[in-house]
């Protein structure tokens, strides 16, 4: 049985798809058979981040509506053979997804894979609720700003009430906090919430801290998940996150301002520290 992990946030633009792509890739690189599903029907992005947009033939909606088989719709990642991508439809709307359809897809995938990563759309409507409904674990992506924290809080409420585990009175979804776009300099200046404030309000376990990094934008535009960039701070932080998701105890990095050497300061250095 696969472990189903939803990557969600409530608020848009906080790094859900980047994180889903990085986590799925990281899990696959460690030998886990992993599939990452884009639930953002109508605003398909995951295929771009994963660099497979030119190979999309069928999508999740086709599978749910019986127009294509799972095997036809899944795209094998170019860099890791353990990783598959199930893209969303760009032309349909979110109502094309049904609870029964999603359940069937997840059950079928469950037999073959170790991890199923669900990349949730923003918001708290149907698409987001379907993405989280069957989850065993949730990665709640949060930026160090008050609106993001409040939306994450809202999503945590849904995770504990609107999921299958909650409705069947089973063990609750295991919730993990992933703080992204963290900039220690701006935290020190008081522009951003600090990590302790976020943790105090959301009151769930921290699974990772991703520093704000130029590497993320570069990776996203190149269609290579940032975790492949193992020299970058963000890539390393995602690798740590994957380790923690797999149950390893890894110390937290990138929380305080990194001291940069004289040479790095003189020549700039583009986020690769």
């Amino acid at each position: 049985m696969a472990k189903i992990i939803v990557v969600t946030s409530g608020k848009g633009g906080v790094g859900k798809t980047t994180s889903a792509a990085a986590i799925a890739t990281g899990l696959a690189l460690r030998g886990n058979k992993t599939v990452v599903i884009d639930f953002d029907v109508g605003l398909r992005n995951l295929d771009l981040i994963m660099g497979c947009e030119r190979r999309v033939v069928y999508d999740l909606v086709n599978v749910i509506q019986g127009e294509a088989g799972l095997k036809q719709a899944m795209i094998r990642d170019k860099r890791s053979e353990n990783l598959h991508i199930l893209p969303a439809s760009q032309t349909r709307d979110k109502d094309a997804l049904t609870l029964e359809g999603v359940e069937k897809v997840l059950m079928d995938l469950s037999e073959e894979f170790d991890y199923i990563i669900c990349d949730s759309p923003a918001g708290i409507e149907r698409g987001a609720q379907l993405a989280l409904y069957f989850a065993d674990e949730a990665v709640v992506v949060t930026n160090p700003e008050v609106s993001s924290v409040r939306d994450s809080d809202r999503i945590l409420g849904l995770l504990s009430s609107k999921s299958r585990r909650a409705e069947q009175n089973r063990d609750p979804i295991k919730e993990h906090l992933l703080v992204t776009r963290y900039n220690p300099n701006r935290v020190n200046d008081g522009d951003m919430l600090n990590l302790d404030d976020i943790r105090e309000i959301l009151a769930i376990d921290l699974v990772g801290l991703i520093p704000e990094s130029e590497a993320v934008l570069r990776a996203s535009n190149q269609g290579v998940p940032v975790i492949h960039d193992d020299k970058s701070d963000a890539g390393q932080a995602y690798a740590d996150t994957v380790s923690r998701l797999m149950g390893e105890d890894v110390p937290l990095r990138f929380q305080s301002v990194q001291k940069r050497g004289l040479i790095a300061r003189m020549f700039g250095g583009g986020g690769r520290r």
């Binding site: 708290i124 409040r150 809080d153 809202r154 409420g157």
Partner: protein, 251 residues
């Protein structure tokens, strides 16, 4: 009728009240079985059987007709005073009234009863200690109230339509906690808290770490802006005094 009518004129006033009542939950309608079990109980806890008023609950019994008169006689013989019947069919209700007893509709949910009811015995085992003069009682009219454990998150609303609400955890921004009675928050209060929602002016709000978006008692409210900044982050009690919301530190 004049509003200013002299109080001395009235022979009585009606008042709502909630009294603790012992409910005798019958699993069998056989008066002889009840008699046998009662006899045993009397020897265990004689102090309990002092004309104690009881409500006979017949919800578990699925028979249209009961020997209600004989059951009452057995009870009275053991110094229990049946005052009312709860549940049962229409004929049961009619015969209760004929016997001068009150009738209550069946209780909708009784999560607690499951734990205290031994399956095999004929009567509910009110675990009476021989040296305990006060019998354990079930409140016949539920006082309401609610305890919520865990964080109340943005968008969630927790309410107690009767009685007090106790939250053991934080109330986050964007969350709302309401109670007909008082609101107690054992954690930071960062959301909205409304006490006395049906107009109870005696209700209050009690919390650690006040950072509430809104505080309201019986409709009188204060927004976060209106709260004295000195009180923020403190453990406080909030109540109505002369139509004003008064926030004072809990010491």
């Amino acid at each position: 009728m004049s509003l200013n009518r002299d109080r001395a004129d009235t022979a009585f006033t009606f008042k709502g009240g909630m009294l603790p009542m012992t409910v005798m939950e019958l699993a069998s309608a056989d008066p002889e079985r009840i008699r046998a079990q009662l006899a045993g109980k009397v020897s265990q806890a004689p102090a309990f059987f002092q004309h104690t008023p009881v409500v006979l609950s017949v919800e578990q019994i699925d028979e249209p007709h009961l020997a209600l008169e004989r059951i009452c006689a057995v009870c009275r013989a053991h110094k229990l005073l049946p005052v009312a019947v709860r549940g049962g069919s229409d004929p049961v209700k009619q015969s209760a009234w004929a016997l001068g007893l009150g009738w209550f509709p069946p209780q909708e949910s009784r999560p607690r009863a499951v734990e205290t009811r031994p399956v095999e015995s004929g009567l509910v085992e009110a675990s009476i200690e021989a040296d305990l003069p006060v019998p354990p009682t079930e409140v016949a009219v539920q006082a309401g109230g609610r305890i919520h454990r865990g964080t109340v998150r943005s968008g969630q609303q927790i309410s107690a339509s009767e009685g007090d609400l106790v939250v053991i955890g934080a109330v986050n921004p964007g969350a709302e906690v309401l109670a007909a009675g008082s609101v107690h928050v054992y954690g930071p209060l960062r959301g909205r808290a409304l006490a006395g929602i049906h107009g109870d002016r005696e209700a209050g709000i009690f919390c650690h770490d006040l950072n509430a978006e809104l505080l309201s008692v019986a409709g009188t409210y204060k927004r976060l802006e209106d709260i004295d900044p000195k009180m923020l982050g403190c453990s406080v009690q909030v109540g109505l005094k002369e139509d004003q919301l008064r926030i004072s530190a809990l010491t």
